[in-house]
């Protein structure tokens, strides 16, 4: 492997800043790998980095970043994995993409994803599934499957994705990389093609926790274009602590208990990580999140409801796909949507439209919002006693392509452990905790709103103790 590629992103940035690496060479090394991508992780790869930057004097040193397709990037295809946005090149860039570019992380390429971020296997992409670099017969997880696979395979030094119910953490777990879903509002959503606006949040995919902290530091910030964004209340330091002394970890029975359906190999890795945490000085105790078992039901009302409004604008008139040849406007609309939206997206539009309909609102959307409030209260209660709540990120490891596509409900269960944090708006990180039958397992830590610095520090300490070697996938 190319020596440049072997460097972590933070190391590479330091070397560029020290004048030891030419940022153009670094960019080209990754550009070549991304262009030769045989995982279908990229939907578009840049020709070159913008030359008008003095990368040696930027905090991110010109280390290029792969960006999930749904982030609008000016003049560059931004299709959210959907045929209905085929060829769409927006006239503006998402705030997070701009923030990163200004900090010295140029755009490497756009990564494949489930259509409109709806999916957990990346099989819902209009541009074909992404393959898991650990086993090409298997899925990378989703919806940010392209970003996870690209980082795992060393096609990108780091990447960004979005997480609505687990779309960063679950693919990070299945690909053996670090994925952080920040506090809702920490990163601007401006320019992210919306799936479920009250849940969508951008976050980093990286090879290690230090890279995650560095990239995250330059993503955050209040944006005057996003009313739901907030100034991050403290500086995000690179993690250093190597122990967990005094850290109280809560293990929610509702998500990890015997009934939760956790795969034995995943459980073994989880238990081993608990043992390491105790060695590092953490205390472990069961905790209760009484409403967490209803999280998926609530999520699959709220997210589709918001999506049904967010996706109503795609009609073939102003941008993206248009099915021409219709005799009248209404027929053009319906043909465009029929051809442009995949089956899972159509399913969720219909679910969401139904949940908001007159006469059903209170029973579905209204009730789901109440459950959401209860889940947030559950977490607040837990964080009175615990610093973090921990679970396996996904109940299982990467599964075979096509093995769950016939059963939407089984597919939805992928997010069983990740959806509760999304509904509560709190941050959670997935780190690789080891392998099960040669496939990566993810370990999830969740903390109170804006606890990312502490979360990253704890994840870093565990990461050092676990000593996960992600390099086989990049060989």
């Amino acid at each position: 492997m190319n020596e440049l590629i072997a460097l972590s992103a933070a190391e590479a940035a330091e070397r560029v800043r020290a004048g030891e690496i030419d940022p153009g060479e670094l960019f080209d090394a990754y550009r070549q790998r991304a262009a030769a991508d045989d995982l279908n992780a990229f939907t578009w790869v840049a020709d070159e980095a913008p030359r008008d930057h003095d990368y040696a004097h930027t905090p991110l040193g010109g280390v290029p970043v792969a960006v999930k397709d749904l982030f609008c990037t000016e003049g560059v295809p931004s299709q959210s994995g959907s045929k209905i946005l085929e060829g769409y090149r927006p006239p503006y860039s998402a705030t997070v993409v701009r923030n990163l570019a200004e900090a010295g992380a140029p755009l490497l390429g756009k990564t494949n994803q489930d259509e409109f971020a709806m999916g957990s296997s990346n099989e819902n992409s209009a541009f074909g599934p992404v393959l898991n670099p650990w086993d090409r017969r298997r899925v990378p997880g989703g919806s940010s499957g392209g970003s996870a696979a690209a980082v795992a395979a060393g096609l990108a030094p780091w990447a960004i994705g979005t997480d609505t119910g687990g779309s960063i953490r679950q693919p990070a777990a299945l690909c053996g990389v670090v994925g952080l879903k920040p506090t809702y509002g920490a990163c601007s959503r401006y320019g992210m093609i919306a799936f479920a606006s009250s849940l969508d949040q951008a976050g980093p995919f990286t090879r290690n926790v230090t890279d995650a902290a560095l990239l995250f530091r330059h993503m955050v910030g209040q944006d005057r274009r996003d009313s739901t964004s907030l100034e991050f209340p403290e500086p995000i330091e690179l993690p250093r602590g190597e122990d967990l002394k005094g850290v109280r970890l809560g293990i929610p029975e509702e998500l990890v208990g015997a009934d939760a359906g956790v795969d034995p190999g995943v459980r073994a890795s989880f238990d081993e990580t608990l043992r390491l945490a105790e060695e590092l000085g953490a205390t472990l105790e069961p905790c209760q999140l009484p409403h967490a078992s209803h999280a998926l039901s609530a999520y699959y009302l709220i997210a589709p409801a918001e999506a049904s409004a967010n996706l109503a604008r795609f009609d073939g008139v102003r941008y993206g796909l248009r099915e021409d040849g219709a005799s009248d406007l209404t027929t053009m609309y319906s043909r465009t949507r029929e051809v442009g939206f995949g089956p899972e997206v159509q399913r969720r539009i219909m679910l969401g439209t139904y949940a908001l309909s007159s006469g059903y609102y209170d029973a579905y959307y209204g009730k789901a919002q109440k459950v959401r409030t209860k889940i947030a209260e559950d977490f607040r209660g837990a964080f009175e006693r615990f610093d973090f709540v921990i679970t396996p990120t996904s109940p299982w490891t990467a599964f075979e392509l096509g093995s769950k596509t016939h059963d939407p409900l089984a597919m939805y269960l992928n997010d069983f452990c990740t959806v509760p944090m999304s509904l509560a708006g709190i941050p959670a990180i997935s780190i690789p905790s080891g392998l099960s039958e040669g496939l990566p397992v993810g370990f999830q830590l969740a903390g109170p709103a804006f606890s990312e610095p502490r979360l990253l520090a704890a994840a870093y300490a565990l990461e050092q103790a676990i000593g996960f070697d992600g390099s086989p996938a990049r060989a």
Partner: protein
């Protein structure tokens, strides 16, 4: 048995008014408001509804919304919410309108004799121009969308159904327009669409308290059309009920050319808006400081208060008081003239006497004109009214003076002098002699008056008026004739 008596109906009318706010930028983005600019030049990802774009509330629009709420006596909600109102139409690029639903910015209130139900903020749609004979989307050859208007801040003001006639609706709408204009929050121009009025109309047997089935009238884009449309709908509903047919709840489109009402197609009408809280915006918190700032920007006297003062303190007739208050330019002119009369000593001129000279002035300058822009200064109108009061000039002669003033301006006293229009009386101008001639010229009339038939005095007075070219005071003429014929 005879035919059953035709029942008397009471119309029940509520108005929904949309007002474009005169902010610099749009409701949720930084694009400038414009009118008449080339199409689609004031646009951005947000107001075009491009994927990924987000709305941000316009602080000035909130300020204006609170001002309107305060001016209408509403309760201002400390916390209000924006919702998505889902509807799919080419003028609406997000396929939902951001509006306020069950938790609006303002509730309750009253303007004049009509209660306010609520006032809320929302955004305007793009402008559709349908080419083709129909002028509407169905059957158009082609439709153009101009997004310059899309996202213009709107307030929607909803009245309670406290209005009971077409004229009352029109007058109240004029009061509302004047109030909003005085607040400086909008152009409030119905012909340009910055003030739009829909009406909910039902009728019920007089004395009943139950509401009848209502219809909603749209597209009445002038004050006259509001009156005309509502009147037509009341008559239509009366005919239906008299025939024993039900009124169907529907939306009707007013055609100003024919004055007719046609139902909108059900496709345009049948909506389940699927409202839900707008996740892209946080709740609107109207702080005490924001309310205080809005209050500080209110004018010292709003039209409804001014009408009350004109009527109660100045003793104007109720109709005149409302006219002067609701058409602020008339009220302003009147008050300047009143001040001038006071400064001249006024000779005991009552405000109501002065007010009676505004109508003849308007008659001469055109009913929509602003008297302040005419040749007649408020000072000269005050002088003229005072001259009538002191009998320096007769009422008829004063009207002639007013005609001169409107044409050429100047000082009424000099016009009276130049035109020889000064009042003449028995003592010094031979009025008695003219009266004598009148009696001599029409002995039959004189005889009848002598016999006590006072109606017969008219031709005699008319004779004197003609002879004096209207310069003599009618009361004085009558007095002299009766003196002679007793």
């Amino acid at each position: 048995m005879g035919a059953p008596p035709v029942p008397d109906y009471e119309p029940v009318i509520g108005l929904e008014i949309h007002v474009q706010l005169d902010t610099r930028t749009k409701m949720f983005c930084g694009c400038e408001l414009s009118f008449g600019d080339p199409p689609n030049i004031h646009t951005c990802p947000t107001c075009l509804g491009l994927p990924g774009a987000l709305p941000v509330l316009n602080a000035r629009a909130i300020h204006f919304g609170i001002m309107i709420g305060l001016a209408l006596g509403c309760d201002i909600a400390e916390r209000s919410l924006f919702h998505r109102k889902n509807y799919f139409y080419p003028d609406n690029p997000k396929a939902y309108q951001i509006s306020q639903y069950d938790v609006p910015l303002c509730r309750g209130g009253r303007l004049g004799d009509v209660r306010i139900h609520r006032v809320h903020l929302e955004e305007d749609a793009a402008k559709l121009n349908h080419l083709g004979a129909s002028g509407r989307i169905h059957g158009s050859d082609r439709s153009w969308v101009d997004f310059n208007r899309c996202g213009t801040p709107l307030v929607e003001i909803v009245s309670e159904p406290d209005i009971h006639s077409a004229e009352q609706a029109r007058d109240w709408l004029i009061l509302l327009r004047t109030t909003l204009r005085q607040l400086g929050v909008s152009d409030v121009d119905m012909s340009q669409g910055s003030l739009r009025c829909d009406a909910n109309v039902s009728i019920r047997p007089a004395g009943s308290t139950e509401l009848g089935t209502k219809t909603e009238l749209k597209n009445m884009n002038s004050f006259a059309y509001v009156a005309k449309g509502i009147e037509a709908e009341i008559e239509r509903q009366k005919r239906l009920l008299d025939l024993g047919e039900p009124v169907v709840q529907e939306t009707l489109h007013f055609d100003p050319v024919t004055g007719s009402l046609t139902p909108l197609r059900s496709k345009e009408e049948a909506h389940d808006y699927r409202y839900f809280p707008e996740p892209d915006l946080v709740p609107l918190l109207a702080s005490a400081d924001m309310v205080a700032a809005a209050r500080a920007d209110l004018p010292t006297e709003l039209p409804a208060e001014r009408a009350a003062r004109f009527e109660q303190e100045l003793g104007l007739h109720a109709d005149t008081a409302r006219l002067f208050a609701f058409r602020a330019e008339l009220g302003d002119y009147f008050e300047r003239a009143l001040a001038a009369a006071g400064a001249n000593g006024g000779a005991g001129l009552e405000p109501v006497e002065l007010s009676n000279w505004i109508a003849p002035l308007i008659e001469r300058i055109g009913s929509d004109a602003d008297p302040a822009e005419s040749n007649v200064s408020p000072e000269s109108l005050a002088t003229l009214a005072t001259m009538v009061k002191t009998k320096e000039v007769s009422r008829d002669a004063a009207r002639e003076v007013l005609t001169h003033l409107v044409a050429e301006g100047g000082d009424p006293r000099r016009i009276v002098e130049r035109e020889g229009l000064g009042a003449i009386s028995a003592e010094d101008d031979g009025l008695g002699e003219i009266v004598d001639r009148a009696i001599a010229a029409d002995p039959a009339a004189a005889e009848q008056v002598r016999a006590g038939n006072m109606k017969a005095i008219g031709p005699l007075v008319g004779f004197v008026m003609r002879e004096t070219k209207g310069r003599a005071d009618g009361g004085e003429i009558t007095r002299l004739i009766r003196q002679r014929l007793q």
